[in-house]
Subunit: 352 residues, 2 copies
């Protein structure tokens, strides 16, 4: 465990670049004084903003990068012009070569995942990385993965995600055996995809350490917080996340319109203003900002591209927590031979 | 077009049976006097409730059925004991043999789809039925399908759903060429599943009548109302629907708690009460109740099992609308040879 958590930031990522990344880092640093930062990107732009944050500046280093990855480029394009020299690549590279413990970027998700895979590679015993998010629920928070790193998943991928997601949930929820559900349609054992059924059977029959398999869950169980970890393949996971975000924004829109409707509702709003502000924060999809790339030899956090400084600081906080509580070691602890679909296959040194 | 719309109701379906189905039918009948009803189920229970609704009773017929399908049985079980004699089967059968124009049930979705498929069969030119729903959006309403009739979909199935969904949207939105989007992750053409890409290419290149292809959409576009029709395979569609419903319920929970927080918020609530009631109706997932089974030789509507009389009446309304505006003919109009993946294959008399 390092004394300081060293955070590499892609200063050019996201819709706003240094104007959001640096104030966001400053907010995170005020909550976690045991942090150090390396900013990658256009040094003049970074130095310009950093000058207004002397406390942050004192624990930061700036590394110039000429190239910024564009938000809409395809991963293959981004790799062609950004490999080895973009701010995004260099932030990930800092994790690889041990200069940083975690990299955070609000940039292009596809490019970030492609660069992270190529540069960090998957952990021994894990075939594919996944994107995990912290989902606010009626009971607190749950971990949901995969949100779009891959499309489709076989039983082994789903079990790997159960292992990785439960490691994340142990850190977030501070419990030893988080409950894990497989996302499906209909809770009857008969329904759903073959891979999901196979993964469910294996998780039920073999007692994996550090997780408790709780069966199938449906889309509405995510918001209820029925389980601590929800596992699904990336297509459905991404659509679930965005459908939920869309619904939250939709209802916030209705609520605003309803409160402006008559003089009485306006008066009502004045009285209940504080509660409305808390509510708005609660249903803000940016609040739990920060997708965690799990399954790689190094931790990478993806912030929403449109996040403001507060949102970006939440992503930095998540990175900090994952390092301080040693996510990689916790994944290793759960990655036992019983977690293999073919039980006798070697786990290739995955147990740390 | 029949003078009256004849509606077959599975009186035993749903969590409440005749106690909800009959008052629901009465509400629908008060809005649409040009309707007639056939109730299938335990005749004594039905007659008992129907006695309180003389206006409805005057246009209704009761057909006794000993057997009611249980909500949690697997489709195969339900078929074993319910085929040919359950209230659910008989309601569908009334559509098949021309005694009714539409069947509505709040029963077991899997059993209803299995019985509808076996008894009504798919329309000529359509390989698979789908479940379509009306989704409230910030712009009004959209049609979303498939919500779980099948898992997975090839390009042809997706195109068929574009055709069927746009026929439904023409009725609901009263426009001639509804816009259609394919649900995907990321709007770039490069991303997503092969089948989705292939369907997108075909829809873009061939100009189908009565629909306007608008490209890929993401999960958050559903609630925005970006397109009139959202097409996806049933696993992701079911999860999107339930994730959105879960989020709506979650936010309603937060809102209630927020309004009870202090004396000021309670006072605020009193002033804004009317707006809150309207809001609650708007975010009630039951409001747009009624999944439409499309692609069969007959219209079947699935109501939520937990719907109250109001919710059930909404499902009956949708059935009424689909019959009055001739959903089947509208699907036929759009089912041109250009809607085939292999363009030269015959459409087997699908064009009406």
């Amino acid at each position: 465990m390092p004394e300081k958590v060293r955070i590499a930031l892609d200063a050019m990522g996201g819709d706003h670049g240094p104007a959001v990344v640096i104030p966001g880092a400053a907010l995170a640093q005020s909550r976690h004084p045991d942090t150090e930062f390396i900013f990658f990107g256009a040094s003049s732009a970074i130095e310009g903003v950093l000058a207004s944050y002397p406390q942050l500046k004192a624990v930061s280093r700036v590394v110039h990068a000429d190239i910024a990855i564009k938000m809409d480029d395809k991963p293959s394009q981004a790799l062609r012009y950004g490999r080895g020299k973009s701010s995004m690549w260099l932030a990930i590279d800092a994790v690889k070569n041990g200069q940083a413990d975690v990299a955070v970027s609000a940039g292009n998700t596809g490019a970030l995942m492609a660069m992270a895979k190529i540069n960090l590679r998957t952990m021994a015993g894990i075939e594919r990385p996944a994107i995990a998010a912290i989902w606010p629920t009626l009971r607190g928070e749950s971990v949901v993965l995969d949100l779009g790193a891959s499309i489709g998943a076989d039983a082994q991928h789903l079990i790997d995600m159960a292992v990785m997601g439960s490691a994340m949930a142990r850190i977030l929820l501070n419990i030893d055996r988080p409950s894990v559900g497989l996302l499906n349609i209909g809770v009857e054992e008969i329904k759903g995809l073959d891979e999901v059924r196979e993964a469910g059977q294996i998780l039920r029959e073999r007692e994996l350490p550090h997780l408790r398999y709780a069966g199938f869950v449906e889309g509405d169980d995510i918001g209820k917080g029925t389980v601590d970890v929800v596992v699904t393949e990336g297509f459905a996971g991404n659509i679930a996340l965005k459908a939920a975000e869309g619904t939250a924004r939709q209802i916030a829109g209705y609520l605003k319109a309803a409160m402006r409707e008559t003089i009485w509702t306006r008066i009502g709003y004045l009285f209940a203003r504080g509660a409305f502000r808390k509510l708005a924060a609660k249903i803000d999809p940016g609040r739990a900002n920060g997708g965690v790339f799990v399954g790689l030899n190094g931790i990478v956090i993806k912030s929403h591209g449109g996040a403001d400084a507060n949102g970006f600081s939440a992503a930095v906080d998540i990175g900090y927590q994952m390092v301080r509580n040693d996510l990689k070691a916790k994944i290793g602890q759960a990655l036992v031979p019983e977690a293999r679909v073919v039980a006798d296959a070697p786990v290739a040194g995955a147990i740390s």
